[in-house]
Symmetry: C2
Amino acid sequence: MTNGHPLNPLIGKVRRLATLEPDDHRALLDLPFEIGRVRADRELVREGTVPKNCCLLVEGFAFRSKLEKKGNRQIVSFHIAGDLLDIQHLFLERADHDVHALTEATVAWIPMPELRSLVLHRPRLAAAFWRDALVDASVFREWILNVGRRDAQTRIAHMICEFAARCSAAGLGSPQQLHLPFTQQEIADATGLTPVHVNRMLRLLTERGLIQRDGRTMAIADWDAFRRLADFDSGYLHLAA
Amino acid sequence: MTNGHPLNPLIGKVRRLATLEPDDHRALLDLPFEIGRVRADRELVREGTVPKNCCLLVEGFAFRSKLEKKGNRQIVSFHIAGDLLDIQHLFLERADHDVHALTEATVAWIPMPELRSLVLHRPRLAAAFWRDALVDASVFREWILNVGRRDAQTRIAHMICEFAARCSAAGLGSPQQLHLPFTQQEIADATGLTPVHVNRMLRLLTERGLIQRDGRTMAIADWDAFRRLADFDSGYLHLAA
DNA sequence: CGCGCGCTTGATCGATCTCAAAGGTGGTGG
DNA sequence: CCACCACCTTTGAGATCGATCAAGCGCGCG
């Protein structure tokens, strides 16, 4: 599936975030790493531990999550190929949340010191990684709004819009033919709802003709209508450089 | 009120985040800036604009917020003296949210290029600013959990715990004598609730003996009991370096 | 002294949760 | 190759938490 160098998805993403010179490009390619293939649901980082390597998602999907005291889970972000899953541990010791593979996935483990050194001593790469981390934070803010102030239907639609927009931007699908790698339980954990209610809202969206579903594959007929219903404006993804 | 150099709160914070050499210290003090005094509720950054200066909160309190389509507001973070309110605009053009003064406040406007240059070319300062931005993101993740999965009482208590812990760490108060600069409407906007329900939950917390209130001043008698009720664990604040 | 904003309280409503059970579906091993 | 099992999806009925609507109170400020 993923041809070429395993770090290619990362390089693709970095190039979308900043202009690189040949030596930056080479420095990225020279990063040491170790490839791993993991099954769906496999834990990649556990809250409270002190990671020594940074996890790059080469292929597949992943999510980050936290638990509250009763054991209920909240997913706080989804990730696609090219995403660094724990760039925060370059500068923060202890993981404050879990990271799991969502699907079967390929990951590359990059030693923190090497990556940190690039970030501290190569201004163009630093700018790219800064942008990446800051877009992450922007997405978190939008999620706070999403779970805090939108009703269930809008919330789910917004989550789907975001996923579709990010997949599109990374060349991994289109709104007309979108494979959602989530169970309804996972959608519920991301939106702060119950799986039962997610199911009802998906049915409602289908009945209203806003989406067509076939298993976990989805087609959004009228993107603009769906976008408006979802209260989705892609500005917060900062896709344009 | 704030004696000495206006950038002192920033320097204090940076020193809590990383070890500085004398030249780093000097570089910070040499930053150009413009001081402003603003009234409560004053807008400091507006969503959609392209800020030219970075806003440092020198004294007082501020918050960031977003609106959903019906006009409901979600506050996504609170800020205290020493916080950079829009460090994200060092690397992202357009503001994706609003920033407002919560109380009367003193701010310093620092030109982006000078600050960006420090961040890109001084590794020790870079590490400090990275840590700051990454802690911000960690707090956002905790807020997603808070509004997504905790019930109203726990949610409000958690917000109070976080505020108390951050004020304590910055030397701005103690749990035994905590001044909350928020209206109940603002607490509601931060927790994704209505002001009416916030009022009832504060009454409940008071009746249960967990807090004592006198206007907006609050005393938390048994911090550990309150912490447990609030499901609050300060780990995500990454206070220890 | 009066006005406005924030706080407080009551009554009712409704979105979402909980509990329960019945269909699907894909994967695995016999 | 088929059968079974685990997990996911779907649907129903009833309960509940927090929202909404409405009104009075109190304090600080002009």
